[in-house]
Structure formats: C-alpha cells, structure tokens
Symmetry: C2
Subunit: 197 residues, 2 copies
C-alpha cells in the first residue's frame, strides 16, 4: 500500500498533539517528558522536533487547538441567545464552565501564559478573546454598552471569567460555587451597560 508522505505526516502531527493534550493536562508542561509523550504516540522525539521545532512549539499547537475549540463553542452558545447582550452573558458563563475542564485549565490558563507569554500575543491570536471583543463591539455600536475600549472590556471580562474558573476548580465543592461565580459575573458585566434613564 502506497501512502502519501503528506498524509502520514499530517496523521503524525495529529497523534502528537493528541498525546500532548493528554500528557500536558495530566502532568503539566514542565513535568511532561518528550520521550514518553512521543512513545505514547508511537513515534520518537525525531518526529516532534521536525514538526514542531521544540517543546514550546508543541505546546503552542495544543493551545491553539483548544483555544479554537473554545471560541467556536462560545460563539455557538452566544449566537443561540435571544440578543447580543444575552449572548455576552452566555459566552461568559460558557467560558467559566469550559474552564472547569482540566485540559483547558492546566494547558490554556496555567501553563500557556507562563510558557508562551500573554495570550493576546499568541500565534493563535487567542480566538476566545476575538469572539468576546466582537460581541462587545456590536453592543457598543448598538448603544447598549458604554463606549469603552472594546479590547479593554473584552480582556477584563474574559479575565474575570477565567479567573473565576480557576477558583471554582480549586474549591472543595465546585458545583455549589459555580452558580455564585456566574451570578457575580453577570453583575459585573452589567456595569458595562449604559445608565438606565
């Protein structure tokens, strides 16, 4: 059976990213051994360094994948809401819930920023942030939100949401804490609304 080179290469990339998601989430970035990780994928470090440059590069690829998945999900949930304002609240709640996933938490929220630096400068450009920002921009244009800097508002909102998730996950009883966090988030977000007359 003749296998095209680009096919197997793509498959190997997928295998490596999948193995990395698992290992990074379970052990954390620094404790993840590249020998073990590549062996789990049925390969060696050779494949890794050829495809991703170095350990950091692999993390960047993993972060990009998860971030994109999160952004897609958040946008879907936001779009399903009645209006843009409800959408913004739904997106925030969605981020909080998604960040309870250990993969998201360990890889995107903890190791990602520490190893790759500030999310706004990631190669993936942080799709999550983009989604929130464009929602905010629409709401400002509609006169529903105060005319704040959209980037600033989006950063603070997602910062609040993601930080809430860290707190929830570390707490003893996540299920009882989640609603408190969502309630506080909704209150905060309401501060962006224009004053009622």
């Amino acid at each position: 059976m003749v296998r095209k080179r680009s096919e197997t290469m793509q498959e190997n990339r997928v295998k490596l990213i999948a193995a990395a998601r698992k290992t990074f989430a379970e052990k954390g970035y620094s404790a993840a051994s590249m020998d073990e990780l590549t062996a789990d994928a049925g390969l060696t470090r050779g494949a890794l360094y050829h495809n991703f440059g170095d350990k950091r590069g692999l993390l960047a690829a993993v972060v990009d994948q998860i971030d994109t998945e999160m952004a897609v999900r958040a946008q879907e949930i936001g779009a399903r809401a009645g209006n843009d304002w409800q959408g913004l609240l739904a997106e925030g709640a969605a981020y909080i819930e998604m960040a309870l996933n250990p993969e998201v938490q360990r890889i995107v929220l903890l190791d990602g920023p520490a190893v790759l630096g500030d999310p706004s400068q990631w190669p993936s450009q942080n799709n999550c942030l983009q989604v929130t920002r464009s929602t905010v921009e629409r709401l400002i244009a509609q006169g529903i939100l105060k005319p704040l800097d959209p980037e600033a508002a989006a950063r603070l909102l997602s910062g609040a949401a993601l930080n809430a998730a860290l707190w929830i996950a570390a707490s003893q009883d996540p299920q009882s804490v989640l609603p408190k966090a969502v309630e506080a988030f909704r209150a905060l977000a309401a501060g962006l609304l224009v004053e009622r007359l």
Copy 2:
C-alpha cells in the same frame, strides 16, 4: 566575632530570596538555574535545599513576599480614599499599576499560578485577595454593593484587574492603554452596586 547561628541563617534566607526575586523576574522560573542563583547570593545549592526544600519552595517564599507587599500597598491606597467604595476602585487601579512591575508580572501572575497552582490555595493565602474581599464584605454590609458572595466578587475583580495588567504590559504602548483599562475596570466594578432607585 561570634555570630549567632540563627542570625546568619536568617541573613542567608534573605539573600536567597533577594537573588531569586531578581533571577526569577529576569529569566522566568524554569530558566533560572539554582547553581547560578545561589552563587549570586554567595552560597551553594546546599543552603537552598536546606532552607526551602526545593526550587518550588523558594518560589513560594518569593511569591509570598511580593504578594504581602502588594496587599499592604493596596490596603494603604484603599484606606486613603474617601470611602469604602472609592477605596475599592482605588485598590483595583493600584493592582493594575503594580502588575506592570515585571517582578509582579512574571513571578506572581505567570509563574506563580503555573507552578504553585491556584492563588487561593497558596500558603500565603494570597493576601491581595483577602484585602479585596474584606473591602467587598464591608460594602455589602453597608448596603452599597449587591449581596453577592464576597469571595466570588473579590476573585472576579482581582482577576479582571490582574488580567488587564498582563494585557497592558504586553501592549506596544502601555502608557496609553493603562487609562483605558482603568476606565473599563471602574465600569465593571460599578456593576456590583445596588440598583439606583
């Protein structure tokens, strides 16, 4: 000259923490070599492992120190404000500005959570958070803020503030971005206020 043991030991701890603040801030936690770091302090790794257990232990000590300094500063600034509500806003702005300091940013915001886990479970108990929470509790008791969970509100507020700082520091022109972030923060915080009648 007879030097008491406990004296020199305390001095050595101070030296090590000082060297670690410098090196961790400049190179980041994982790139910091404990051989170099201890040599800078005029000691060897022996002193380090005896005093702090391991590399993580040293980071924890450094984080504790910086976090405490930040909490003291924020509380002073908050107390100087006219009332508790103005104090809360001033504290938030103070966190944002303090987080522009590379030491704070690299050590407390990036490496700290990645290596030590969620800040609410740090040995230092995260003094910054305590300050904000007690301010929030007072404001709720006064009927100025909505009766939300104080811990949740404090977490989200500080999350927003610290995340804003990461954004600012990574931006091209921090000085022009800072006021936008502070403005957005004040708007968000206003969402915690009880509805005006």
